[in-house]
Symmetry: C2
């Protein structure tokens, strides 16, 4: 009963007190001027976070829903696309394509590696008429960061394709410059660097992307960007939004506005460096990712250690949530997050719990 729940998971991440307070307020109706002001502040502040002067749309959904929204709004049947995969979330983009009848060209990279810009360039040279290239900014399943600036440059040099970025876990944790890097569509979710509860998805769109949206023919209704943009002009959403989570997002974005994006990225640089230094000193185990992101550190467990049991024990006995590996990495790695409202003291507690048990396991 005396355990404090410490979340070191890469989404959801812990919520600042002002976000919890905002979600506990009585609801306001979503077709009122008061909601319109709150919603407008969220959209404006999201443009600040995205570093864009373009349109930002909000949807009531998960990060996966936001990813689907990009596919169904940007593509038509038989469109050729490239999906670069570095883990579970690139694979999810492929599954979404297939669910909607598209057969993308998949450019796979080994788990733990990031997308090789040269390989993408060669693939674009060999395949003409590609409509869009799908990328992860950071891959939550492996903890790698992709060099989106370079990859976007290559796409625009080699093709007319749209650059579509899943920054569900990356936004507000790693530098991302939507306009300066010429990104056409960047989707994200509320529950990671944005320091809010899960339930909202966002999409930032370039002018070039809008032209494609206007003629794209994959079916959609709930996620129809054109309907959402039309309502945005009236400071509304077409369907009833998750009002409480919008209130939480408004509060969280006030914190990011006050901090500024450069400072926010520096905070994540410092937190990731602190976590890795501590993990090296206390555990001395190999890191999983070759090009590690600021969002989390994946650590390879010694052979013979049951990672699933280890993390379950830590959660049950110490109230600390740390994520394990996904799919074939289940039980073999742990993923310690350091993004959003996670603090140095949270990381210290987590690494301490791991060190005590891993020393015990070795003994």
């Amino acid at each position: 009963m005396t355990l404090k729940n410490i979340m070191l998971t890469p989404g959801p991440t812990p919520l600042p007190p002002s976000v919890l307070e905002a979600m506990s307020r009585p609801l306001i109706h979503h077709r009122t001027a008061e909601f319109g002001r709150m919603f407008t502040s969220v959209i404006e502040d999201m443009r600040f976070v995205y570093r864009t002067k373009g349109t930002v749309l909000m949807m009531t959904t998960s990060g996966t829903g936001a990813m689907e929204s990009a596919v169904v709004n940007l593509l038509s049947p038989s469109d050729l696309t490239i999906v670069c995969t570095t883990g579970a979330f690139g694979d999810r983009f492929v599954k979404i394509h297939k669910a909607f009848g598209l057969n993308p060209l998949v450019l796979p990279f080994e788990w733990g590696s990031s997308v090789n810009p040269e390989a993408l360039g060669v693939t674009l040279k060999r395949n003409k008429g590609v409509k869009a290239v799908f990328l992860q900014h950071t891959d939550t399943s492996t903890g790698v960061v992709n060099d989106i600036q370079t990859l976007s440059k290559i796409v625009h040099e080699e093709s007319d394709a749209l650059v579509v970025v899943d920054s569900v876990s990356g936004l507000a944790a790693e530098r991302l410059e939507t306009d300066a890097w010429a990104l056409d569509c960047v989707v994200t979710g509320s529950q990671k660097g944005l320091m809010n509860a899960p339930g909202l998805g966002f999409a930032a769109l370039s002018e070039k992307a809008w032209k494609v949206v206007e003629t794209a023919r994959l079916p959609k209704f709930n996620f129809d960007y054109q309907l959402i943009r039309k309502s945005l002009a009236d400071k509304e959403t077409p369907w009833t939004p998750a009002i409480s989570i919008v209130a939480g997002q408004a509060a969280a974005l006030k914190l990011l506005r006050a901090e500024g994006m450069e400072a926010c990225w520096k905070r994540h640089d410092a937190l990731a460096a602190h976590a890795r230094k501590l993990l090296t000193e206390k555990l001395g185990l190999p890191f999983y990712a070759k090009n590690p992101a600021n969002i989390l550190t994946g650590v390879v467990l010694p052979a013979g250690v049951d990672g699933s049991k280890l993390l379950a024990d830590i959660l049950r006995e110490e109230g600390i949530s740390i994520a394990g590996g996904q799919l074939h990495l289940k039980g073999k790695i742990f993923r310690l997050a350091h993004m959003g409202y996670i603090t140095k003291s949270d990381i210290d507690a987590g690494v301490d719990a791991l060190a005590r048990r891993l020393v015990g396991a070795k003994a």
Copy 2:
């Protein structure tokens, strides 16, 4: 600053204190036993509310998203369906069909009327091979209730079609017996009779519906019922859920469980009767719906009264939210809700504010 915000709107509806408290708690991770217990309680309690022994699925979305989920999971290209429309939400089912390339047979009824069972019977006799009939339980745009029990009986007598019911605004306000009335798919949202914040959609499915889901070919991923059912077996959702709103829903459902469904429906009967008696006494204006639901009362404003201004004035000066008419009824009617956590004292305050101003407007 001293105004208390009183919501008399038909979704969102006011939240009980225990729901606000639940949403203000620190997040728990959604892949833990603790979340699994909370999620399981929501699903079990939803089965209690739906009056079903069948499967109930949860999605992070609006009521519109829940409606779309039924269309894309139950239908295949070129399927023939009937959509009965009595207002804006039947029209929405039609739009969703068209967005996914289907051309439903639309059986329209005048706004303010409910679905005529004989007309549906005749339509089913004349059109063989109908795959599904889409109905509103209550129509939020007009305040009518449809006789779902009778309509379902006719569908099953005349055809093999599935009975698909939008009970986004009706569930937990009007009697609905999913199993006893042989309803195949009933969708709803969290923000009306369920007394929670908006952000969750639910679907209850019959065994017959599941057989159809397994072969339905319209494209879907985020709303894929089979993926959602698979995760349900592990007490999870396939994508990160709106954890805070799940916590709110668990708290709200505890209240409904304690009350019991018969008592809940009686409470709504009494509240609707109270509202109509008071509206008759204080305003003496005609009601809009011919077969009024317990969810709200639509009242026709005198010619010359600007309904939009009236309601905006009441909200700004008295903090009371009352909904106006939608589409061609904008400014011509108001819709006073009496469902969910709305109480007698809320209604008294709302009718009082209307009476004072309408007497003023007439003078």
